[in-house]
Amino acid sequence: MYIKIKNNHIELIKSANPYLIFATIFAFVIGLYYSLIQSPPDYIQGDSMRIMYIHVPSAWFALMTYSILAGSCVLWFITRNPLFNVVARSIAQVGMVFTLMSLITGSIWGKPTWGVWWVWDARLTSMLILFFLYIAYIFLWQAISNKELASKISAALAIIGFINIPIIKFSVDWWNTLHQPASISKLSAPSIDVSMLIPLFIMTAACFLFLVTVSLIRFRLVLIENKMLRTSSL
């Protein structure tokens, strides 16, 4: 069984869309060039602010992926269309990686800026909870052998956990946090200079391509997993 899965993995990566993989790598190369070389340092933070170019897109997509995850779980609960279940399970891992990335890069940025690696303020704590929610969603589904039940319980967790998303988003506005409020919002001009917005948006596009590419690979994997579960239960 293990060997079969492993072979499937190799087949999957081979069958992944080569244009998407190329576009992702290309966007990251351009994005990193702009982030690390072709952009000015910050007037206070100096070069350590360059971490922002990966930290901010990671955090955005951590929240966005969870919203899609919770949304597909809602749709699955109501319609019981298995497609939504497959979508949710395809993107969970990528979302977890984005959350971990934003936590690690934020920690590296926090040390020179704030003077500490970690503080238990509302933004950081709610982001850590998001990471645990992703892990719980993934592990719950794997741990329960009755997959119908597993889907129900993990979907319920994902939906209840969605309450964390607005808490993360607005934590910096609702409570006093060490983390600064958002620099980019729809209602006002961004408090980031244009020369720093360019690398940020290229990196955002790169992260989006990464999300799509990996999710599509995962999508095929989940379909195979479903097929194997059906055959093994016969």
Binding site: S39, W114, I160, N176, L178, Q180, D193
Partner: protein, 145 residues
């Protein structure tokens, strides 16, 4: 829409409302603990906070910074209305400066002073290259320090 889907939809929204109420109750009751730091005005208003370990945040008042030795520092933290004097012994973070955001952790003394044992620099949401700041300052459009 079949009746099955309809009943699921109703059950779903009912449970959603219940969870929402539960979370609101939790947040409402925990709001004291969620606040990471207090401003000077909030601390001065609540004299019951005296003698307790607290976090205080605000801007370092202009011209308030003094150092007794290389590791003992005095400064005031302001929120524009009130000020609290802070004594701190230790190493200051690199971004610590007057008129910049800071969060200190320590004891709010009974005499209204604050003895800090930890200083964290708070960064604002502005990101600018140094040249832009220079131009803004020259043209008089710079709103910051």
């Amino acid at each position: 829409m079949t009746s099955l889907v309809k009943s699921r939809l109703i059950k779903f929204f009912l449970s959603l409302i219940i969870v929402l109420i539960a979370v609101l109750i939790i947040i409402f009751n925990l709001r004291e603990n969620i606040i990471y730091f207090y401003g000077p005005t909030e601390l001065i208003k609540n004299s019951d906070k005296q003698g307790q370990i607290m976090r205080l945040g605000g801007l370092v008042s202009v011209d308030s910074f003094q150092n007794e030795t290389d590791s003992i520092f005095y400064f005031s933290i302001t929120d524009g209305e009130n000020e609290i004097d802070v004594k701190y012994e230790g190493i200051l973070p690199n971004l610590f400066a007057e008129d910049k955001g800071v969060v200190v952790e320590g004891v709010y003394m009974n005499d209204g002073r604050f003895i800090a044992n930890k200083v964290l620099a708070k960064h604002d949401e502005n990101y600018m290259p140094p040249e832009v700041i220079e131009t803004l300052k020259k043209s008089g459009k710079w709103q910051g320090e």
